[in-house]
């Protein structure tokens, strides 16, 4: 299953190769041109009969994770974050490190030895370490190098009411939808872009958009879902199972109102459930895409993901399917000239 393979592949920001290879193998027989740009983005072009508007669809390949910063005399590894990670989720997680795919676990002082005050607060990541089961620095250095990445080990599991648990649903859901879209025939030509290093500051999207100069940019994302006790209604960004989320505004973009309306109209006309993303925290590749060169208009369609940026993010397969369907119908509408905009 594609989403299983995508989420189980490793691709922390700056080290997306495993994911990139997987995606290229998936799409190479379905697109007319494919290349990797200098910064590492996959730029795929699928030629249709119609070239206007110039459509770029982007999903980021990278995921958040850890990087090894020091090997202790004891053979334990110290690490830092790559991208936004809640340090409370780290203790007792399994990780896979570096080129040699070394297994490790994130350890800390056992509860018996902790002071009462230490029970009450989450351990700072500086107090944590990765244990790769060796007894000294020399042995550790044979397996792991400083600067190598450690990604969470977390299997793709389907459970409950048509839900999925996996790591890096942000943004392998976007990659999966984009792959399937490129495998489908469309009348409109599509630039499918799989970007690098989104999680550390939207790094790959800018150069890609600079090169492509799209009229319209659609960003596919996994987004925050906080439909849980403890978050007041108006602060719940999205709700699981209520359909794909369409963004209004975030830290990096005020999304184009005409484009949002066109996507909403498409959803309404085809009875696809959707929701508006009700918070404006965070940002995504659109921030760089809509400001490249003379600018473009952009929208974001997201699959809501609970426990995002953790090894156990959760999504609804229904939301996923509806996001893919909505994108397809939106492209259909574009190629029929159903979205008029003066470019």
């Amino acid at each position: 299953m594609l989403l299983k393979r995508l989420t189980e592949a490793r691709g922390i920001s700056g080290n997306e190769n495993e994911v990139r290879e997987l995606i290229i193998n998936e799409i190479k027989d379905y697109v007319d041109d494919i290349h990797i740009d200098r910064i590492g983005n996959i730029i795929a072009f699928k030629r249709g009969e119609v070239n206007t508007p110039r459509l770029m669809i982007a999903a980021h390949m990278d995921e958040v994770g850890l990087m090894i910063t020091k090997i202790e005399e004891s053979g334990l590894l110290k690490f830092t974050f790559v991208g936004g990670i809640d340090q409370r989720v780290l203790v007792s997680k399994q990780v896979i490190i570096g080129n040699k795919k070394i297994n490790g676990v994130i350890g800390s002082k056992p509860i018996h030895m902790q002071k009462k005050t230490e029970w009450k607060k989450a351990l700072d990541y500086k107090e944590l370490y990765i244990d790769i089961g060796v007894s000294n620095k020399e042995e550790a250095e044979k397996l792991v190098k400083i600067g190598e990445y450690a990604s969470f080990l977390s299997n793709y599991i389907e459970f409950g009411d048509n839900l999925v648990k996996a790591k890096s649903l942000d943004d392998r859901v976007g990659c999966s939808i984009l792959i399937n879209t490129l495998k489908t025939n469309t009348k409109l030509s599509i630039y499918g872009i799989f970007t690098v290093m989104e999680e550390i500051g939207l790094v790959g999207a800018g150069p890609a958009a600079y090169k492509i100069e799209p009229d319209i940019g659609i960003v596919l994302e996994g987004t925050t879902c906080s439909d849980l006790p403890g978050t007041e209604g108006h602060l719940q960004a999205t709700k699981l199972g209520n359909g794909p989320a369409i963004s209004l505004m975030d830290r990096t973009t005020v999304f184009n109102k005409d484009l949002i309306k066109s996507i909403i109209d498409t959803a309404n006309k085809n009875n696809i459930p959707y929701q508006l993303r009700r918070t404006t925290f965070g940002g995504n590749d659109s921030g760089k895409i809509h400001l490249a060169k003379a600018g473009s208009i952009t929208a974001t369609i997201s699959v809501p993901c609970r426990y995002i940026h953790s090894p156990v993010s959760v999504m609804s397969k229904n939301d996923y399917a509806n996001a893919e369907k909505l994108l397809k119908l939106f492209i259909d509408n574009l190629e029929k000239g159903g979205f008029s905009y003066e470019f």
């Binding site: 209604g233 108006h234 209004l248 505004m249 999304f255 508006l276 009700r278 918070t279 060169k293 600018g295």
Partner: protein, 332 residues
């Protein structure tokens, strides 16, 4: 130079939060369309007007957008929750009236707070007098934006109004367009979008215009009120020529060029060193290979409130300075 209060009043009372500038763009367009050679609105919503010439290509930028609020949720009782578009203070917002694009008026208030120091926008709501969610949804939708609304007032010397930031810049550009006789230079008047959320319209319009010289016209703060933080800019002390802010250090050649224009034409000016904030020149001067850029600022009290206060003389000095500058031969 007469002060055209009718025009400024029309500009500040027109709706235009960042990302939704179509109404203000229309108003500006109607004011200037008879005076210029080309006029268009680009993808980011910038209104770009051109007066053709054979000399240097100059970009003049004033932002059309204003700070505002974006509705993110409507509760069962019909109260609206919101987030900020640009620099909205929760404290300034208490009790303010807002207006939506369709003319609906609401009032901003807050949940009871034990500690006012902890007030955040997420503890606040907008009341549009709706009796239920359904009733509210007939008038307002999630994703709609609104802006502060307040009465425009002017006396002999001052204007007090909301949205002086940066409709006064738009006013200065419009009045300059009307005053402008012939110019050798090729002048682009750009009424930019989305300045308040990160100088976004200026970035893309500067790329497409690729000027030799850029000038932004915007408001700045003032340091002449009781116990104000040290800031050597005050009302009635002239057009402010920017030295630096958080988005730009003005090239000394540009700064000196602007000072020379003021001195040669006997225009009252002051120098502005702003420790916080930035404006469109921050984006313009980093475009492509870099574009020499400066800023003319209007000293303003109570920035980002519905009672922004300016001096009319300063505004007229800004127009005079701008007119002198755009007729000069650019020497850098």
């Amino acid at each position: 130079m007469n002060f055209n209060g009718e025009l400024l009043k029309k500009l500040v009372n027109t709706y235009g939060p960042s990302g939704d500038e179509s109404q203000i763009a229309e108003v500006v367009k109607n004011e200037i369309k008879d005076y210029l050679d080309e006029i268009k609105i680009d993808r980011l919503g910038n209104l770009i007007a051109r007066k053709k010439g054979n000399g240097n290509k100059i970009m003049l930028a004033a932002h059309m957008d204003q700070i505002g609020l974006l509705v993110t949720d409507i509760d069962e009782k019909g109260f609206l929750r919101f987030t900020n578009i640009g620099g909205i203070s929760p404290y300034v917002s208490i009790g303010q009236r807002v207006i939506f694009k369709n003319g609906i008026i609401g009032v901003i208030y807050m949940e009871p707070m034990e500690d006012m120091g902890k007030l955040k926008l997420e503890n606040m709501y907008i009341d549009i007098g709706a009796s239920s969610k359904e009733d509210a949804e007939k008038r307002v939708s999630i994703g709609d934006s609104c802006v502060y609304t307040a009465q425009y007032y002017e006396n002999q010397n001052n204007v007090i109004s909301g949205c002086i930031d940066d409709r006064i810049g738009c006013y200065i550009l419009i009045e300059a367009i009307k005053e402008l006789k012939e110019s050798n230079n090729d002048i682009y008047f750009v009424f930019t979008s989305q300045e308040e959320v990160g100088l976004r319209g200026a970035k893309t319009s500067a790329y497409s215009i690729d000027p030799d010289f850029g000038i932004a016209i915007d408001i700045t703060g003032s340091g002449d009120t009781p116990k104000a933080k040290r800031f050597a800019v005050g009302l009635d002390k002239g057009a402010a020529i920017k030295v630096k802010d958080q988005s730009i250090i003005v090239n000394p050649l540009v700064k000196d060029f602007m000072i020379r224009a003021a001195k040669e034409n006997n225009i009252l000016y002051q120098l502005e060193v702003l420790e916080h904030g930035g404006t469109d020149s921050g984006a313009i001067h980093l475009t492509k290979e870099g574009i020499p850029s400066g800023v003319i600022s209007v000293p303003t009290r109570y920035v980002h409130t519905p009672s922004e206060t300016i001096a009319k003389n300063d505004v007229n000095n800004c127009i005079s300075l701008l007119l002198s500058l755009i007729n000069m031969k650019i020497e850098f």
